[in-house]
């Protein structure tokens, strides 16, 4: 083995990588090279993290303007922006939450803009939410529309650097208004999505893997917390799910199936040969009235059709008729059995 690499050699290489990536995204070949470099020694990871941090710090110099004249900062009051930029985080001040920062950071990485480091006080996140069974169409100021499905919550913050939406829970469909200069970013869990012009939905439910469906355009998807920050580009008619072990699985979905899966926009649930148990589970998202299925065999029967999402009774009766089942109303729902 060759001589142990010195820490200053590592620092020099880390600085080089940090600057490269700050300027532009690496291409596939460079990315692979970077990952090889990074994974060979834990000190390299640390050096790279530090190089990035130093670069962030140095970028605060932007607030100083074109002239970096050190003496002038002793006697004159600081330019407001500069003071703002350099101020450390203080708990008593509304600071960026970590989640917000993650998205903001992707915006920085993506656009090369550093306005993020001086967050404007006016960009207050707005929160929208829906109750069980409710869908809501939210037109945003930039022309984008967001449709919120049942029991969902998003916070939206639009400013010059980025259009940021955090999906806190539930499901949302985004029809993104095109804007080349201001990326549209969605953060869901530790997944960051970026789109320029696209129609896509994101679904984050406790008991299911995170799911992204792209109807139109393309969406970049990236895990925020991985060293190997591989960006997946999802094209139209693709569904991507984030599995438990962190891998992203992409599958093609025929347009008609996609449309069916997004029927909730109109307050409908649409099934084609869907197991009854699965359909019942879907209805549970929209109503407190539960559909219970008496036995496994009944649950395995399949259903096809379009039903009102907020009318589980109507669904149960229609299904019972088709499958020759008994319907029994209980105080909190409906039971289907033979």
């Amino acid at each position: 083995m060759s001589k142990r690499e010195t820490s200053s050699e590592i620092d020099a290489a880390a600085a080089d990588w940090a600057l490269r990536m700050d300027e532009a995204a690496l291409d596939g070949k460079q990315q692979a090279k970077f990952e090889r470099w990074l994974s060979a020694d834990v000190r390299r990871v640390g050096a790279y993290a530090r190089a990035q941090a130093v670069l962030v710090h140095v970028k605060r110099a932007k607030a100083l303007g074109t002239e970096f004249e050190p003496s002038s900062y002793n006697s004159h009051p600081l330019p407001r922006d500069a003071a703002e930029a350099i101020r450390p985080e203080r708990p008593d001040r509304p600071v960026l939450t970590r989640r917000r920062m993650l998205i903001g950071a992707s915006a920085v990485a993506a656009s090369g803009a550093i306005a993020f480091f001086v967050p404007s006080d006016s960009a207050v996140a707005r929160v929208y939410e829906t109750g069980r069974g409710e869908t809501r169409l939210i037109p945003l100021e930039d022309g984008t529309t967001v449709t919120l499905n049942t029991q969902s919550r998003i916070s939206v913050s639009l400013d010059r650097a980025a259009r940021l939406v955090t999906l806190e829970r539930g499901e949302a469909l985004f029809k993104v208004a095109s804007n080349k200069h201001i990326p549209f970013l969605v953060q869901a869990g530790d997944m960051s999505l970026r789109a320029e012009k696209a129609t896509f939905s994101v679904c984050q439910l406790d008991e299911r893997p995170l799911e992204v469906k792209v109807c139109d355009g393309s969406v970049e998807m990236e895990r925020s917390s991985f060293a190997t920050r591989r960006t997946h580009v999802l094209g139209a008619n693709v569904r991507a799910t984030l599995s438990q072990n962190g891998t992203i699985i992409q599958r093609d979905v025929p347009p008609e199936a996609m449309e069916r899966e997004l029927a909730w926009q109109e307050g409908m649930l649409s099934f084609v040969d869907t197991p009854l148990s699965q359909a019942a589970e879907e209805f549970a998202r929209y109503s407190n009235r539960r559909i219970r299925i008496a036995d496994v065999a009944v649950g395995a029967e399949t259903v096809t059709g379009r039903f009102s999402a907020t009318n589980p009774e109507g669904f149960a009766r229609a299904v019972a008729l088709g499958l020759n089942l008994n319907v029994r109303s209980t105080p909190d729902g409906i039971t289907l059995g033979r």
Partner: protein, 204 residues
């Protein structure tokens, strides 16, 4: 698979605000520990940053104390692995306390001082490097655009910027951010591995 490292820009922002300002003080602390022969403070600092790229930052109430603790446990790990070092050395380090929770007033660097130091660091770059850095930071030009203005190749610009950034990494980590340095406009040089002043201040 070992830890997942978060090398996102947001983590970098957090590190730059909460960790970087304490690096010089930590170096001073490490210099008082007996390290195994082939281990240097720089190695520990780099490993500590790597560790800080794996932890949940929301859970860290006191980044400075955490940074010191991480470094201490890394040193201990290395000392235990190194067979050359005696048991006494381990005990020596184990007895060392981690500094108090709150940085003293001497360590807290004001906004103005940080900004002043930053301006000083940039101002001291050689002329061509300085120009390239300003074009990159203030005008946000690409390396190619900077090259066109300065009559250099994009690659040469990249190299120049990287060299400047390496210098900043060095300076910021070695006491360049202590208030005394900032107010005197003195920046630690490469041949000055320890900032004696910092060490003295921390002893109180």
């Amino acid at each position: 698979m070992p830890d997942d490292f978060d090398l996102s820009a947001s983590r970098a922002v957090w590190l730059s605000r909460n960790i970087l300002p304490h690096e010089a003080a930590l170096r001073a602390q490490i210099s008082r520990w007996r390290l195994p022969p082939d281990l240097e403070a720089d190695d520990i600092i780099q490993e500590a940053y790597a560790k800080l790229s794996t932890v949940d930052i929301d859970g860290i109430r006191n980044p400075r104390a955490y940074f010191f603790q991480v470094a201490r446990s890394l040193v201990l790990m290395h000392v235990r692995r190194s067979r050359i070092v005696s048991i006494q050395a381990v005990e020596h380090i184990e007895r060392l306390s981690v500094p108090s929770d709150e940085p003293g007033p001497d360590v807290q660097v004001s906004d103005r001082q940080q900004l002043h130091l930053l301006a000083t660091m940039i101002a001291r770059l050689p002329e061509a490097s300085h120009k390239a850095m300003v074009l990159r930071l203030v005008h946000e030009l690409s390396h190619r655009e900077i090259g066109e203005r300065l009559g250099m190749t994009a690659n040469a610009v990249q190299k120049s910027l990287a060299k400047s950034l390496s210098k900043f990494i060095e300076q910021l980590g070695r006491g360049g951010m202590t208030p005394s340095d900032a107010s005197n406009g003195v920046i630690a040089r490469e041949d000055q591995p320890d900032n004696v002043e910092t060490r003295d201040q921390l002893r109180d």
